[in-house]
Symmetry: C2
């Protein structure tokens, strides 16, 4: 693997790797496992795609915090019958790490009965952006278009070949690292990556921020062929969902984002204060689907993506 990674692999050889966190910045760390059978099946993805996806999904947690990647470590559990795929896995991990500017600074290779890649990402930010900063009056935005991964999964489970565009969204997600830092600089108050499903992830923001979020289903951007349930309930999108104070959503900011990144940024809802009657109405998740400004008819939300039930 070291041979395939070249100068992307740094400092491997000692018992542990050394990294420098820029002065004045905090360390940000997250770990993410991708396991055959739970997260993907062997006949769905190439080894390169498995490596890319495992790495990109871990890096997406740094994006959610608006952190800059410093490096990553990979623990690879490799069954004997996957040994021939080692180069491909390494290439996929390497490509995603290189695209993010994250050197691979350590790893552990063990034998097991089931392919598992655990990627721990290290990043830094002067002020990491959490989930707890949404305030009443903020607008809720999402990058990109949703539903592709769930459509791809559904096709595979039916024994069909997914649409190329859906498959790509599942197989080669892009962690929105640069986009997240740009949005933090331009005023984002809370951010999350869409890994459990938009509705569930916004529920995390609502809970952490102590607010209600009202989502307009008609505004949620979907890839071609995706239903609303695909777009709201599908996990592993690795797009960003965020809140922006109203002033930050002047057309200039949205337009500047889209021009800079060639990626859509769509207003999908708004943040309201919790008040007694309405909080109860919003249900446990704190997220309400509501097509109008004042209506408030409750729609049962699809539950979040759960590896143990899917």
């Amino acid at each position: 693997m070291l041979a395939r990674w070249g100068d992307l692999a740094r400092g491997i050889g000692d018992d542990a790797a050394e990294l420098d966190v820029p002065p004045g910045e905090r360390l940000v760390v997250s770990t993410d496992s991708s396991v055959e059978g739970s997260h993907f099946r062997r006949d769905w993805l190439t080894p390169e795609e498995i490596g890319w996806r495992a790495t990109a999904s871990a890096l997406s947690d740094l994006a959610a915090m608006a952190a800059r990647p410093l490096g990553l470590v990979l623990a690879l559990c490799l069954p004997d019958d996957w040994r021939g795929a080692l180069d491909g896995l390494a290439d996929g991990v390497g490509a995603a790490a290189r695209a993010a500017g994250a050197p691979i600074v350590g790893g552990d290779l063990v034998r097991g009965s089931e392919l598992a890649l655990t990627v721990t990402v290290l990043g830094s930010a002067a002020s990491p952006l959490g989930r707890g900063g949404a305030r009443a009056g903020d607008l809720v935005c999402v990058t990109g278009a949703l539903g592709g991964p769930r459509c791809a999964l559904a096709a595979w489970v039916r024994g069909e070949r997914p649409a190329v565009s859906h498959r790509a969204r599942f197989a080669r997600p892009m962690p929105r690292l640069d986009e997240a830092r740009w949005l933090a600089v331009h005023g984002a108050s809370a951010m999350v990556d869409v890994s459990d499903g938009l509705a569930a992830d916004l529920g995390h923001v609502a809970a952490a921020s102590g607010v209600r979020i009202v989502l307009d289903p008609s505004r949620v951007p979907r890839v071609d062929g995706a239903t609303l349930a695909d777009a709201l309930g599908g996990g592993e999108e690795y797009e960003l969902a965020l809140t922006l104070p109203g002033r930050a959503t002047d057309p200039g900011v949205l337009d500047a984002f889209m021009a800079r990144f060639a990626l859509s940024l769509t207003i999908v809802g708004r943040v309201l204060a919790v008040d007694g009657g309405r909080a109860a109405h919003a249900g446990a998740s704190g997220v309400v689907l509501d097509a109008g400004a004042d209506a408030g008819e409750r729609v049962d939300l699809p539950s979040g993506h759960d590896h143990f039930s899917s």
Copy 2:
């Protein structure tokens, strides 16, 4: 798991955890997987011991660098038939983390067919101690007594019950974190934790430092019942092997270490310069077993511990 960890778990809830590296110190990071079937068998250890051992072995990599733990993240791959053991696993991870003063700052829980714990440890040190600093004239030392884990493994593989003392060395290793930092302050020039076997790990030091290491087999401290092969070739000891300039091994330093930590520190060999003839004689590993000062009769070393062959 959060309930069992109490205030040991910190900052879990955002997409990633935040930590501060002390100003002037470098971040040190390592990842380590423990997989059922490769690293242990279910009937050998309790869930608490499995959790402790996975965590302690990862922390030992910080000890090897003389780094202070800042925190750790756990990726747990849990088969359905291990769900009942989750509390025990969490308790074991928690106990080892607490003993090391390392908060648990993040995790990932996924379902799989095979129990696997991947622990990524984060630490810091102003000057992390690597493997490359051994110099001709240094003495080679090891903490504790070796051979216990290999004796325990051999007993289990024979279908026998290991001696209690051997079993404890396998099931509940102690990462030598405080000891390592003390040794770094007192002049250690290179250090490694004994995870592959003393001979193999000193081979890593010899290679990284560009030196030869001559080991006196009669000096290698063994637990009761262990053979020389057990002590030189057995892995997963998690003791420290290190080099110390001769002046640092004045009796005062060795005695002070033993008084401070109630743990033996034994001189087991010496570091020699590589010279043409002798380097060839030392073999590829750079480590020679030699009972005399000048003799140099080559002894075939047991190869290092290898999960794929053991």
